[in-house]
Symmetry: C2
Subunit: 239 residues, 2 copies
Amino acid sequence: MTDFDPAKIKVIGFDADDTLWVNEPFYRETEAKFCHLLSGYGSAGDINRALYRVETGNLDLYGYGNKAFMLSLIETAIEVSGGEVTSAGIARIIELGKQQISTHNPLLPGVPGVLALISRHYRLIVATKGDLLDQERKLRNSGISGFFHHVEIMSDKTEKHYRRLLHHLDVHPGEFLMVGNSLRSDVLPVLALGGYAIHVPFQVTWQHEEVHPDEMPGGHFFTVDTLEEILPILGLEVR
Amino acid sequence: MTDFDPAKIKVIGFDADDTLWVNEPFYRETEAKFCHLLSGYGSAGDINRALYRVETGNLDLYGYGNKAFMLSLIETAIEVSGGEVTSAGIARIIELGKQQISTHNPLLPGVPGVLALISRHYRLIVATKGDLLDQERKLRNSGISGFFHHVEIMSDKTEKHYRRLLHHLDVHPGEFLMVGNSLRSDVLPVLALGGYAIHVPFQVTWQHEEVHPDEMPGGHFFTVDTLEEILPILGLEVR
């Protein structure tokens, strides 16, 4: 990313789930409990495949986040059980969803220190999909909300949505840097607009966010292993 | 509102549901179908009371909007039926919810004309609770999105949330005017911060939004019958 000049950046957007804090593993945990609950009706593989089909089918209608997930779990349970799931089973699914919403999402290593340093030099925002209320709750619980100017909830993270975000933030693409764990949502669309991106891969990625090697972007972004590694890219160092 | 000077206003926030377009009656329609579906387990009055209790109990966890409503409908169905509701019944509730999400919300009278005129003089935003995706969809379907700078989804509409909104918009309370149908959500908190508000009552108000006469604010806001009446308040007139 040879043309990158950190002095030109005005706003840095941070993805939240699995970039600032652990999130996807809690979905996987709920899915495992869900498959166990329905184990009389199919293998975990079959049930997870059905769930993914229902989730993607509902994406236009529900969007992202815990509530969309819960509604798709219920719909999947009815489907894979051929209508045999009991209302006690549905009640249990609602309970699993509520537990997941109430989960305290632990911060990823180094996050507070990195944000404390960067926030002295740049305006930081959280730019995330999902439910506003959930993301606000996670941010409040995390203790790092003071480092961010505000939270931007995006109904999706396509070029169109980032274009709207930049308009709203009143910055040009070349003044915007996005940091996140998803190539599809945090990197590709931002690069396509002429902005900058840093990819911080996370251990688990939701199938929907996976990118085929053919879609991989060219050289105009950085990939780092941990959030601390974005400091030298921005010309900052922990003393 | 004798101290009101429209020349000082920089941003006008519009509530969306039942201020720009019809919304609450569709909830009432879904509730009526829901009560009919469960009529073997109680009167419509009893079922609606149970639903309201479940909804308000879930508010901290789910927030506002269609998906929260759907999850509370399902929970209420299980509760009022004593667990006897079948998975076909639950599937029917999901279908009702999806129908409601897909509803085209008709604009209230005069809305496009009023916005066309006001948007030439002020920066307009939509400031609303509910699901981001739903509100974006309604705005897109409405054909009036071009009049707004952007959409602000608020997880709630208390003083705290408006304070955050004004910070985010970079305006002082005295530069902000809120227009909406809910005294509780659109008028009271904005006045408390020192901002201005215009109340445009709608025919139907969700119980949760109702304000006790003792809580009624003083004279620092206008009440109008239709959106057109805000034009003279802003010193504008349709030619």
